[in-house]
């Protein structure tokens, strides 16, 4: 899976990236976490409230700092 964290560098975005990494380490396997801070790319996903979480090109969450357990749910 390719997990993208959309955010322009606010504290919540960094925290979401960390939580995503924790979630991935729990489910195992090879997955990629990419931080997207290019505002144009963020808008291509139609997201206007950061941080956003995108899994394989699909927007799963916006404007929320999810905890690792919630992210795990989204990845299943």
């Amino acid at each position: 899976m390719k997990i993208e964290i959309l955010g322009t560098g606010c504290a919540k975005c960094t925290a979401l990236e960390e939580n995503a990494k924790v979630a991935i380490s729990k489910i195992g396997g090879f997955h990629q976490v990419v931080k997207v801070d290019d505002i144009m790319k963020i808008m291509e996903y139609g997201v206007v409230s950061t941080p956003g979480l995108v899994v394989d090109g699909v927007v799963k969450s916006t404007g929320k700092l999810l905890n690792p357990i919630e992210i795990e749910e989204l990845l299943k």
């Binding site: 963020i42 206007v48 409230s49 950061t50 929320k64």
Partner: protein, 319 residues
């Protein structure tokens, strides 16, 4: 609503601690205990209710809804959405650009950008807890008026050229990215958010009420009126200017305002101050500066500032 708590704290201060009735120390302590707990309970309740409502709205949904609305209708709707949409200053840039991308007029975007922080859950909860529902309703009502008119005026001034980033308007209609949640999920999310906010602000309430309690007990009743001039012409603009750098401390500032009004500060001045605290935030201006020309930001602050000052004067005159 909190009479029982008033009596209980009075009982504690006067009977159990045995402090003398009417002494400054006893009055201050009674006020402190009563007010802190009252505000805490109201904060938790109201933030929970507001954040539950907000799980039904997200900014992406609002954007899809506002797309293609005519200008004045758009301003009104954007201001109303500002009450129920979760908003964080840190996502002001994607919000602004995303709205423009959806061909939402810049004035409508500003209506939202004025209304959302003005009607933030902390300010509403504190206002309700401290001044009651009437003042809260007045605050929200006139806040909406500032947001609608402010955005409308900015929209009429043709400021599009002051957006520093080139956004390609999208073709066609937007599909909103709605994420489905169950009732249980919404309650859980709202509750976690409430606790999160409460942890961040309870200490400011404590400090604010603490200073307030001191003034309540030790400073004479007409102090403000006597020494700073309760109704001099410059008190409203001064209150607005003082409110600008205080955004992050709204939780501590508001309990103080309560005490200041009881010591002679006029309600219009207090209202203008509180609106300036929430609507004119320096951090937001700094963030927007990355995509907007200083001229546009200055215009934004000036129009909202003038609006708030007018409201302050109106209230000082009629109340």
């Amino acid at each position: 609503m909190f009479d029982w708590w008033d009596k209980l704290t009075a009982l504690f201060v006067y009977n159990i601690l045995g402090l003398e009735q009417k002494s400054a120390m006893a009055e201050a302590l009674h006020f402190f205990l009563y007010d802190t707990i009252k505000i805490w309970i109201l904060l938790i309740t109201i933030i929970f209710v507001v954040s539950y409502l907000r799980t039904h709205f997200n900014t992406e949904y609002v954007r899809a809804y506002l797309q293609g609305k005519s200008e004045f209708t758009g301003n009104v709707l954007a201001a109303l959405f500002g009450i129920v949409t979760p908003f964080c200053t840190c996502s002001a840039i994607p919000l602004f650009l995303g709205f423009i991308q959806a061909r939402i007029p810049i004035g409508v975007t500003f209506s939202f950008l004025i209304s959302a922080p003005l009607n933030n859950e902390i300010a509403i909860a504190l206002l309700f807890g401290i001044f009651g529902w009437k003042v809260t309703a007045i605050y929200i009502g006139f806040g909406l008026l500032v947001a609608i008119l402010g955005g409308y005026i900015i929209g009429k001034m043709k400021m599009e050229k002051y957006i520093l980033m080139d956004v390609k308007p999208m073709e066609g209609e937007l599909e909103d990215v709605q994420i489905k949640l169950t009732f249980k999920d919404r309650v859980k999310e709202a509750w976690e958010y409430t606790i999160d906010i409460f942890k961040k602000i309870y200490i400011y309430v404590l400090i604010g009420v603490g200073i307030g309690a001191f003034i309540h007990g030790y400073v004479p009743a007409d102090f403000i009126a006597t020494y700073t001039g309760g109704d001099t012409w410059y008190s409203v603009p001064l209150a607005v200017i003082m409110g600008i750098p205080m955004y992050s401390n709204a939780a501590g500032v508001m309990p103080l305002v309560e005490v200041l009004t009881s010591k002679g500060m006029l309600l219009g001045t207090a209202l203008a101050f509180m609106m300036a605290v929430t609507a004119l935030s320096l951090p937001e201006a700094m963030i927007l500066k990355r995509i907007l020309h200083t001229k546009l930001i200055a215009l934004f602050f000036t129009i909202v500032g003038i609006g708030i000052i007018c409201i302050g004067y109106i209230f000082n005159t009629i109340l």
